[in-house]
């Protein structure tokens, strides 16, 4: 099968899944009578509808090409950082540092990917961003909560720009015998992370009893995690034919993606709560904000990128 054919098979599979999900949602909604189950089902249907739009935007960017994919992720970083900064108490003195983050760091980081400048891509934010962002804030002569303010901005920039940019950075890798198919690897990562999130949600709703971290993330349960992680790992293994991995390697990679995604969801939920919010935003109906969908991706992407680069290039 050519990469093109593989891609259309994938899209076909996802569309079929969404059709099933929409049908289930429709049947459930017709049967529901109790008030709180109606609320849960309405939220479920809103989520499924949002998935339709997300799959559409994603596939469109993939079909248009590499540049469109990179630009799409630049916008994802933009909206994710916007949500992060909205919840973070910054002061007028941070204005220049924030302008730098939004209008310089995001474009440069993604330009480095399209320019295939790997060395600078890896250090641009951890070195140059890390040192220049606080310098800009310091030049504004406001020392109040300076360390807290800069630490929060750094964290937001690392998660929403640096970590998320590792998804399209998969396009940079030169994997022997896999030339011209990197976009499929990107699809693999996103698919495993998101399916793992969805399956953990489904298993949690059906069998969830024991809460893992009730204070940090009340919806995460042991049953949900085990069921979701196991099934997402199996699906990941079954997707080996779109990756450069063997089925066993693919299972291992999927498991690491699932695990990192879980930790990302948990850590960013803790961040969100420490900032006093329940959702990151309201951009994606039923899901919350952009960061509510990208939290697991942001933790899984850099590790997946690094492991693939280390072992397969």
């Amino acid at each position: 099968m050519s990469p093109q054919q593989k891609f259309y098979w994938l899209i076909g599979g996802i569309v079929a899944l969404l059709v099933i999900a929409s049908l289930i949602g429709w049947v459930l909604r017709r049967r529901a009578t109790a008030e709180n189950s109606i609320a849960v089902i309405d939220n479920l249907n809103a989520r499924v509808n949002a998935w339709w739009s997300m799959v559409f935007i994603f596939s469109a960017a993939f079909i248009i090409g590499t540049t469109a994919t990179i630009v799409m992720f630049a916008f994802i970083s933009f909206f994710a950082l916007r949500e992060f900064i909205t919840l973070t108490p910054t002061r007028a003195g941070d204005h220049r540092a924030l302008s730098l983050a939004f209008f310089v760091i995001i474009p440069v980081q993604y330009w480095l990917i399209s320019d295939r400048w790997y060395e600078l891509f890896t250090i641009f934010i951890p070195v140059y961003g890390f040192l220049l962002l606080p310098s800009f804030s310091a030049l504004a002569h406001d020392a109040e909560n300076f360390l807290e303010r800069t630490a929060k901005i750094q964290w937001g920039v690392m998660i929403t720009i640096y970590c998320i940019s590792h998804v399209p950075a998969l396009l940079l890798l030169d994997i022997p015998g896999y030339t011209g198919q990197n976009a499929l690897l990107l699809f693999y990562l996103i698919l495993v992370v998101q399916l793992s999130d969805v399956l953990q949600y489904v298993f949690g709703k059906l069998f969830g009893k024991t809460k893992i971290a009730p204070v940090v993330s009340p919806s995460k349960t042991v049953e949900g995690f085990v069921g979701g992680a196991a099934s997402a790992t199996l699906i990941g293994a079954a997707m080996w034919w779109i990756t450069p991995f063997t089925p066993l390697q693919s299972a291992g990679m999927a498991f690491i993606i699932v695990l990192m995604g879980f930790l990302g969801g948990l850590s960013l939920s803790a961040v969100k709560r420490s900032l006093g919010a329940k959702d990151w935003g309201t951009m994606i109906k039923g899901h919350g904000g952009m960061m509510d969908r990208m939290d697991s991706v942001s933790f899984a992407a850099p590790i997946f990128f690094h492991l693939t680069r280390y072992f397969f290039t």
Binding site: F78, L81, R82, E83, I85, T86, T90, A92, H95, L98, S99, F102, F103, G281, T282
Partner: protein, 200 residues
């Protein structure tokens, strides 16, 4: 108009400016929306938050000494926003600085007004100027809608050239009730409290 659409798109991309109708719903009734003022994008943010059919009949009140200067700003104010320019500095004796607003209200248009008169550094509004009181007295049937612009002072604090992308919400509060024979300071304080009330 293309430039208006571009302006609205840009404001949504940068600050969202999504409406939250808390104390009222969108309605074609003639209204005066009055809000706290902390940044240059306040006017466009509130205006973009209105549904298009209301937006077409709602005119922002803008200071002639800012929006009237420079060809581009003047073009945006008059052609895109259909603003009513007023002179907030000294005017010649005998002329009423509010008369352009009377004309707009007489024509049946709604208005967007920033009663503090100038941008503030802090989030919550400062003292209101008397204009709103005179309009309320002269047009007893026009609804007065308090609006709280959340986060815009963070996105573009006074002195900043570029807005930073921070999600801002336009919160529409409960219409201000009319109380017969209320004196000016009491009315203005009550109006200011209504804007603060829309913040919660």
């Amino acid at each position: 108009m293309l430039l208006s659409k571009l302006l609205i798109g840009l404001v949504r991309l940068l600050v969202g400016a999504m409406p939250r109708w808390i104390g009222t719903i969108p309605s074609p009734t003639q209204r005066i929306y009055f809000a706290n003022h902390s940044s240059h994008i306040d006017t466009v943010a509130l205006w973009s938050a209105l549904p298009p059919e209301l937006r077409a009949r709602t005119r922002p009140v803008a200071a002639a000494d800012y929006w009237g200067t420079g060809r581009f700003k003047r073009y945006v104010a008059l052609k895109c926003l259909n603003a009513v320019l007023i002179n907030r500095n000294k005017t010649e004796a005998g002329s009423n600085p509010l008369s352009p607003l009377f004309e707009a209200l007489d024509r049946g248009d709604s208005l967007i007004l920033f009663p503090e008169g100038t941008r503030q550094l802090q989030a919550l509004p400062g003292n209101f100027k008397a204009g709103l009181f005179h309009l309320a007295e002269r047009y007893p049937n026009v609804e007065l809608i308090p609006v709280y612009l959340e986060n815009l002072n963070r996105s573009m604090p006074k002195g900043a050239i570029l807005p930073v992308p921070i999600t801002c919400t336009v919160r529409f509060g409960t219409p201000l009730a009319r109380i017969a024979n209320e004196d000016k300071p009491t009315f203005l304080n009550r109006a200011r409290d209504a804007v603060i009330g829309a913040a919660q």
